[in-house]
């Protein structure tokens, strides 16, 4: 993979058909912000966490650029950082620390949707990550397992438990179906 090693993240176009970091950024940045927003609940931290993930990717692009799916790595970084209280606060601080500057943040969510993500964030971290990756990033179970570095069965178990908890948390709007209530 020597060609990967010399390919800088600033390359305008991908070599050997692989996307450059800039291309990934243009394509995936907003989706990663959405993922971070869902898991952190902070509009300012979400944007910052996604930026941090790309910055981290930049630093080790010689390795990450060679991955089959570098976006999975980015998603993992964002998902992990967004559920870490201290990292989230640092990111929030950094985002809000642009003295006198302008910043563009994600828009606020309607209350009904914010309530859904609040309930997701109240789940254990791994369950919340699985739910966010499944619904926000539209990832199937196998991809989530690869992203989080766990077995598919574990992802399914987290999803099942998360859905049970969410159904209860968001009740009465979402009563459990009879087969799930058993």
């Amino acid at each position: 993979m020597g060609v990967i090693d010399v390919r800088g993240p600033t390359a305008a176009g991908g070599m050997l058909g692989a996307p450059s970091l800039d291309e990934l950024y243009r394509r995936e940045f907003r989706g990663l912000v959405a993922l971070a927003y869902a898991l952190s609940g902070s509009r300012s931290a979400a944007e910052e966490l996604a930026q941090e993930a790309f910055l981290a990717a930049h630093r080790r692009w010689s390795r990450i650029g060679g991955y089959d799916d570098p976006v999975a790595w980015l998603r993992r970084v964002v998902a992990n950082q967004a559920v870490s209280t201290i990292r989230r606060r640092v990111a929030e601080a950094r985002a809000l620390a642009r003295l006198g500057g302008r910043r563009q943040l994600p828009g606020a969510l309607p209350e009904r949707d914010e309530a859904v993500w609040r309930a997701v964030r109240a789940l254990p971290a791994r369950q919340a990550q699985v739910v966010a990756l499944h619904y926000v990033s539209d990832q199937p179970v196998a991809a989530i397992a690869a992203t989080l570095g766990c077995a598919e069965g574990t992802v399914k178990a987290h999803l099942h438990a998360a859905r049970q908890s969410l159904a209860r948390a968001l009740a009465p709007a979402t009563p459990l179906a009879p087969e799930e209530a058993r």
């Binding site: 930026q51 910055l55 201290i86 606060r89 950094r94 809000l96 006198g100 859904v116 926000v136």
Partner: protein, 484 residues
């Protein structure tokens, strides 16, 4: 899974994607040689946690009468050279344009006398805009017909009450003197008019006694320290790795000075630059400790240094402050502009505090007290700028957390976000700790200064909700909640 829940989650996801749809996404961020300001957002967290609302006024009470009217009347102060490795990362003149002002406001109320306006009663009223958060763990109560959380603070008797008033606005009340019932009563009587929140009907014991101290202050971490909403002044920001500091000078009266001291716990008298001043520390959630130094720089001008560095470092920094030339100040403002432009247009990121740099660095660079291994990797217990830190490494990833050198319990999360260890300093009378669900034994290590620290690996999937500190005889000395 019900179709309803699935539909709700998909709809909520669609909302998220719509919310981020307009964000610019040009070129991927690259490291910049210019460190950007990392101010500590944590004052907000501390306030809403109700943990830092304490003030013990002593000695040389401030008395400010003549208030300068414009920024030109307010002296600028900057750090001299690269003091303690801190490098300038931005600056701003106050007041900020309205569109860039804070995420909320905080107001202080007290009942007391001239020597201590908060002696008999104290109250902080925090109003946060969209995105504002409050304590999530505590007693569930209802105030003003809405669900609210009542949480105990770190200081004895301190308590906070937080609820979402309407739309995205969140109100949090904090006090160390009012207690649960009176705080709820104050909340019920609040007058809310748009973003303006004022005291309304008060409990009989407070009626006519609780008065406003100072003006509403901006609550925005970019604007640490607090300053009155529409005040004139200047702020300069500095960074050295994860350590951040800000220096502000702004127009304020004696009430503002008193309120700032109250809100920042700056209660110890000191001398700064030949002026009487105060210093205080505010342990924050997440293990960060903020130190605040404030003094009256000149008549009607409040000066504040806030930072995460060691107290002695910040005192030296404050004593070494100097007035910059106009060109120097303009360069500082330009640096802020260029940083924020880069961040919003091309996404340039320059902070050194990334997840990639955290693992192991602290342990390598500072005094390591103890090391060990657990099922998931290795750990180091070490000192960093007076804070007690724990790091873990597993394969090529790792994480670390630093906190109050006297904190009873701190949680270390791994790079996967899972809680992997808890640790803390044993208080007097405690000889060990019981950690429910600990993976392996709970270890106790003595530090050179006499502190004794317990630590235990835990299962990220079964994070204990508390740690029990035990005495020599096995009796419970204290039970501490674990922040998972």
């Amino acid at each position: 899974m019900t179709a309803d829940l699935d539909t709700m989650l998909h709809a909520a996801s669609d909302s998220l994607h719509e919310a981020v749809d307009g964000l610019p996404a040009g070129e991927a961020p690259r490291p910049s040689p210019v460190p950007r300001l990392v101010a500590a957002a944590v004052l907000v967290a501390a306030l809403v946690a109700g943990g830092a609302l304490v003030l013990r006024l002593r000695d040389h009470e401030g008395s400010i009468s003549d208030i300068p009217s414009g920024p030109d009347d307010i002296p600028r102060l900057v750090v001299d050279g690269d003091t303690h490795g801190l490098r300038a990362s931005g600056g701003a003149d106050l007041p900020l344009p309205a569109e860039t002002q804070g995420i909320g406001t905080v107001g202080a109320y007290g009942a007391g006398d001239a020597s201590d306006p908060f002696a008999e009663a104290d109250l902080a009223v925090i109003v946060l805009g969209p995105g504002g958060s409050g304590p999530t763990q505590g007693e569930s109560v209802r105030v003003r017909g809405k669900p609210a959380t009542l949480a105990a603070g770190d200081e004895p008797g301190s308590v906070s009450l937080s609820w979402k008033e309407r739309d995205q606005a969140r109100i949090t009340l904090g006090s160390r003197t009012l207690g649960r019932d009176r705080l709820i009563a104050v909340a019920e009587g609040l007058r809310v008019d748009g973003d303006r929140v004022t005291l309304g009907t008060l409990p009989p014991s407070l009626d006519g006694r609780l008065r406003r101290i100072g003006h509403d202050m901006v609550l925005d971490i970019s604007m640490l320290p607090f300053f009155p909403v529409s005040t004139a002044g200047h702020v300069a920001a500095y960074q050295a790795g994860d350590q951040v500091a800000a220096v502000a000078t702004y127009a304020g009266d004696a009430g503002d000075l008193t309120a700032t001291r109250y809100l920042t716990s700056a209660d110890r008298p000191i001398e700064v630059r030949g002026h009487p001043g105060w210093i205080g520390r505010s342990p924050q959630n997440g293990g960060v400790v903020l130190h605040t130094i404030l003094w009256e720089e000149s008549p009607g001008v409040i000066a504040v240094v806030v930072g995460t560095d060691a107290e002695a470092t910040l005192l030296a920094l404050a004593d070494g402050l100097r007035a910059p030339s106009d060109a120097e100040w303009r360069a500082l403002l330009d640096r802020s502009d260029s940083e924020s432009d880069a961040a919003t247009s091309s996404g340039v990121e320059s902070s050194t505090a990334t997840m990639a740099t955290i693992p192991g660095e602290g342990a390598d660079a500072h005094q390591v007290y103890a090391s060990g291994a657990y099922a998931g990797g290795t750990w180091n217990l070490y000192d960093e700028a007076g804070q007690l830190c724990l790091s873990s490494e597993s394969g090529d990833s790792g994480s670390s957390v630093c906190g109050d050198p006297r904190a009873g319990v701190t949680t270390l999360h791994d790079s996967g976000g899972g809680a992997v260890m808890v640790f803390g300093v044993l208080p007097t009378g405690a000889a060990g700790a019981e950690v429910p669900g600990a993976v392996g034994s709970v270890e106790v290590h003595g530090l050179p200064d006499g502190r004794r620290v317990y630590l235990a690996p835990i299962d990220p999937h079964h994070v204990p909700d508390h740690v029990t500190l035990l005495g020599d005889d096995g009796r419970t000395v204290d039970t501490l909640a674990v922040d998972s």
